[in-house]
Symmetry: C2
Subunit: 227 residues, 2 copies
């Protein structure tokens, strides 16, 4: 069986778990701490980053875009997550890039670093109390992104068009990390909330909603489908 | 004719120019300043980033991975830049991700920001003298990357295997930005240098070697094929 080496709150691993479930498959999950990757991780991926997808014990697929495209090339017989013609596919990938680059830098990375990773690092490696300035800046940026999500899902069922795509999974994977902490002002963004409710209710989302990070329980609304 | 909106020293625009030439096509080039994108740019790409590929006046393809995959889907009839089976294609994309994420963050971005962009910004926006600490850190990281390039091209003609691929173009696009300033210690890295000589000698590279940024002439070795 295939294996995904991941960290529960990493948005890139989350997207792969969602994608695998949407394709109708799955993978054995192995948890790693991205702030302290073992020597094995560097053997599999010289960049030392997660997630890593193992098709079998000797084949490691590394790199977020590489894994996303690989899964589409090997598992999309029934369900395509990069669907449509060349323009529609480009739109899916543009939106994936938006969330993986822009949303990640502006929101997910500061939230993860300040609220999670600093708890596990030794003080000399940057551990300690969160930098609340970075957390507040992320909260401000988050509002711009919720506006944008509302703007693009206002006349569409899914983010890139008529069909669920990797764009929805990437966006939801990043948002779900912030939602774990209950930090999304959903009431102010009804259109974005409606889209998130649709994706959060899918069976593929259940695995994420069961996540618990040691010493850091999720907010009460995190697993709630009727938030 | 297609159009590429780009900045001459941006590694992502450079990769697209190389790819278009390798596919045997081309595009009209329109230069923009990424540190001061015009309102038009945000109309075409809400993220405001370059490059933007216009297939025609009404179709903008945005996002680095999206453009790379789009060009492969529309122009690779004769020349494939993401060649091979699913594993070989994953290896190409892993290496592209390595350079676009890791090399960019550790080397290209600090070099570009400190040596170019600060010259064009007003002082209140971060303009002024380069932060030489960041430049020195980038120089140190560059050596690790040259080691890695030597390691992977030691027994291969091209970076991902027997065929030239997007991995070579991504790597060369990033390195060429640093090479513009003559800042690559090629003599210490003969294997990486041999690979770079092969790619620098290709006709597709000529457009890059003719680049000149106003007020910032390239180093003498930059256009030299026998460096």
């Amino acid at each position: 069986m295939a294996t995904l080496i991941h960290f529960a709150l990493d948005p890139f691993g989350r997207r792969m778990r969602l994608a695998l479930a949407e394709y109708g498959g799955g993978a054995e999950l192995i948890e790693e701490q991205p702030w302290a990757p073992s020597a094995d991780i560097f053997q599999l991926n010289p960049a030392g980053t997660l997630p890593i997808f193992m098709e079998d014990s000797s084949t490691a697929i590394c790199g977020v875009e590489a894994i996303g495209e690989y899964l589409e090339e090997t598992r999309s017989e029934k369900t395509k997550l990069i669907p449509g013609d060349v323009y529609e596919r480009a739109e899916v990938r543009r939106l994936v890039g938006w969330f993986d680059t822009k949303f990640y830098a502006e929101v997910t990375e500061p939230v993860l670093t300040e609220k999670v990773i600093r708890r596990f690092l030794r003080r000399e490696d940057g551990g300690g109390a969160p930098d609340m300035g970075r957390v507040r800046m992320a909260a401000t940026q988050l509002r711009n992104h919720l506006d944008y999500i509302g703007h693009i899902t206002d006349h569409r069922i899914w983010m890139a068009g008529e069909d669920l795509s990797l764009a929805d999974l990437a966006a939801a994977a990043h948002l779900s990390v912030v939602d774990y902490f209950g930090d999304i002002p959903w009431a102010d963004y009804p259109v974005a909330k409606s889209w998130y409710q649709r994706i959060k209710s899918r069976p593929s989302f259940r695995t994420l909603l069961a996540d618990q990070v040691r010493g850091l329980p999720p907010s009460a609304i995190y697993p709630d489908l009727d938030f």
